[in-house]
Symmetry: C2
Subunit: 214 residues, 2 copies
DNA sequence: AGATTGAATGGTTTGTTGATTATTTAGAAA
DNA sequence: TTTCTAAATAATCAACAAACCATTCAATCT
């Protein structure tokens, strides 16, 4: 099923080497010989070594994105749950990738140092999915706050930035991180404004007395 | 007014050198000769070079903390405004310090690499101030959400983490950062829950018709 | 005694040299 | 012509020595 064009063979060989020995310890000559070609020939398919790494990261990330999109549009869940699933998935993916393969960190660091655009592109993609999530909610007739969706998505991302950067995790375990993300999301959904709670409580009471009357 | 004890002279000399030439390019011998003492004698007052840097950072940070506490308890402003002032001040201080003196970044990085506890201590201090802010609001009779204050403070910090770490700012200007922090705060206060807006709108309408009737 | 020095120590940084390796390119093979 | 190779180039890395510097401590001063 997988295309057998030279480009794909290169990506495969490089992926194998990178995850085995690391980006830095893999030479173009090794990748080329795995593909039974000369080192120079690699450059007919990629501008440079870093672009191979980027291609690997890009396809991997695109699978992730597809998964996120599924979560964002999942039926039978309201917008709040879908947003929660989405952001939890982002956190878990980063955490597990790092745990399973510390070499992934090297590649991530190299790419985001040398290709800052790439990180921006990823953020923009996820922002787009959050917007789609909200549009879908509206389409389904879920009640939505009267806010600009683009801007809200940007703010949601800013507020959950901590859960994207392992450098900020300082030894926190996944459960602790999840508890924190959960708390942040609660705050983002419900807000700190006391009015929100007052009204919610009134509604609760009203619902309870309605139930008692019936 | 400033005590003239050797310890303070050392701190002064080191502060001057560090901000002029950087932490790495300053030698203990230089600091000692600025204080007209031998290098060895520095160790009667500090366990090591890093501790001098930490002492400098600590006093500077304590001024900042005092300022934050003033903002947190400022009269004539409600809790929302005080929280806003507090978080904006944290952002602005970091931004301006960095802009004015790029060597401050080196020191901050060295300290938080070698003394991770220090960063935690700073965060804990600010969390305490946020709790105090909320307690003060309660004392003043401002309506408050029925939430655990410690936990809320933790979540507020997590959600505004991005504005504490220049590495996450990727070339954003201060106005852009401020606009983003503003957006995040709006979301934290008001929440994304559509109910909040529905109720708020109802209140608005009620207030308007009351005004019209009068 | 306690305070201070400055030479001795050992760990780290710096600078240099010789590989190693990414990238280019002239030209061979198809 | 298009696809590829392999030698040439240039950039980066690794290893080793020299210099430097944080820290210690035996000796000196007060």
């Amino acid at each position: 099923m997988t295309k057998d064009c030279p480009r794909d063979r290169i990506v495969e060989a490089a992926k194998c080497r990178f995850s085995h020995f690391g980006y830095g310890k893999t030479t173009m000559a090794e990748v080329a010989s795995d593909c039974e070609m000369s080192p120079g020939n690699l450059y007919r398919f990629f501008p440079g070594k870093l672009d191979i790494a980027e291609a690997i990261a890009r396809t991997d990330y695109e699978h992730h994105l597809a998964h996120l999109r599924k979560l964002a549009l999942a039926p039978g869940k309201d917008a709040r749950e879908r947003l929660r699933d989405l952001l939890f998935e982002v956190l878990r993916r980063t955490y597990h990738k790092l745990e399973k393969d510390p070499r992934a960190l090297e590649m991530a660091q190299v790419i985001s140092r040398e290709r800052p655009q790439f990180a921006n592109w990823m953020l923009a993609n996820e922002r787009k999915i959050i917007v789609e999530l909200m549009e879908e909610a509206e389409r389904r007739g879920e009640p939505m706050p009267p806010l600009d969706k683009e801007e809200s998505a940007e703010m949601i991302q800013a507020a959950t930035m901590k859960f994207r950067y392992p450098q900020l995790w300082s030894k926190l375990t996944l459960p602790k991180l999840e508890r924190e993300l959960d708390g942040v999301l609660k705050l983002l959904i419900q807000g700190l404004c006391p009015l929100n709670y007052a009204e919610t409580r009134e509604r609760e009471l009203a619902r309870q007395s309605a139930a008692a009357a019936a």
